[in-house]
Amino acid sequence: MLQTSLESLVQQILDSCSLVSPPIDLDAVAHHLEVNIKSVELEDDISGFLVAGQGRTAARVNARHQATHQRWAKAQLLGYRALFSHAPTEHRFILDTNLALLRRTDALETGSWKAAEYSATPVERSDARQLALALLMPSKLLMAETVRHDPTSELALAELARKFDVSSVALMLRLLQLGIVQPAA
């Protein structure tokens, strides 16, 4: 999905939930998207999963993982749900062993995708990841905050990450994506 469409989809969700300040309340988003989402104990290598079908969606994130990672997993699973134009009637089970922020440049997603896996398609994964970044750090809110906090200062970055309740890696990716910062030459 185009980045502009994703940003607009996220803004619609935030408007519907009346979410106007960070950190974004993911439970409110889950309620709006009618996703029953909980933290439960799962195997260590599993970030979470989503089950959809018959107009209902449920998601679980791994309670054994750090709170920030659980939040990221929640956002990405909600991203999958938001990408469906309506709750799917066909049963879908998306299990992600790697709700990762980053991937190696030499690891082509299409190459690692196999029809037999439980996971989503490469396009869905990429869209859900982008949507999660936009959901946790909406462009308008992040841009407003970077006016107050200089995003090239490490102290300010830590403050921004705390404010949006995201990891510093997620924050940096989003700042780069929105063109707010660029690597220093």
Partner: protein, 121 residues
């Protein structure tokens, strides 16, 4: 792996279903309207929807673009075990793969669906 006939039939059904259903962002379409947007003859689209004509990749991409969906949404090779094998097989596969905790949580979710539970996170 399904055979070619079933593959094109399912793809045709999905296209027809999307065309006729419409969403809040996109109105329902006639075959003629979709054919024009996708660069196909209307008669070709009729056969494609019935699974009686093979859908070229470039047409698949155009149709997916018209509906704002991923091309994978039209292809019945979705990597979700549950879609093809049923809930029981998903559970069995998870247990076999050494994921009893996921299997238990999955059963909880599916049971929640069946009993009509709604979102209370």
């Amino acid at each position: 792996m399904m055979d070619d006939h079933d593959l094109y039939k399912v793809m045709g059904e999905r296209i027809r279903s999307l065309r006729k259903s419409g969403t809040r962002h996109r109105p329902r379409m006639t075959q003629a309207e979709l054919a024009e947007l996708a660069g196909l003859e209307r008669s070709a689209l009729t056969y494609i929807e019935k699974g009686q004509q093979k859908l070229p990749v470039h047409s698949l991409l155009r149709i997916a673009e018209v509906f704002s969906v991923s091309p994978w949404d039209l292809v019945p090779l979705r990597p979700s075990v549950g879609a093809n094998l049923g809930i029981g097989t998903v559970v069995e596969t998870l247990r076999r793969d050494g994921r009893p905790l996921v299997a238990a949580a999955y059963i909880d979710c599916v049971a929640g669906e069946e009993t009509g539970a709604t979102n209370k996170s």
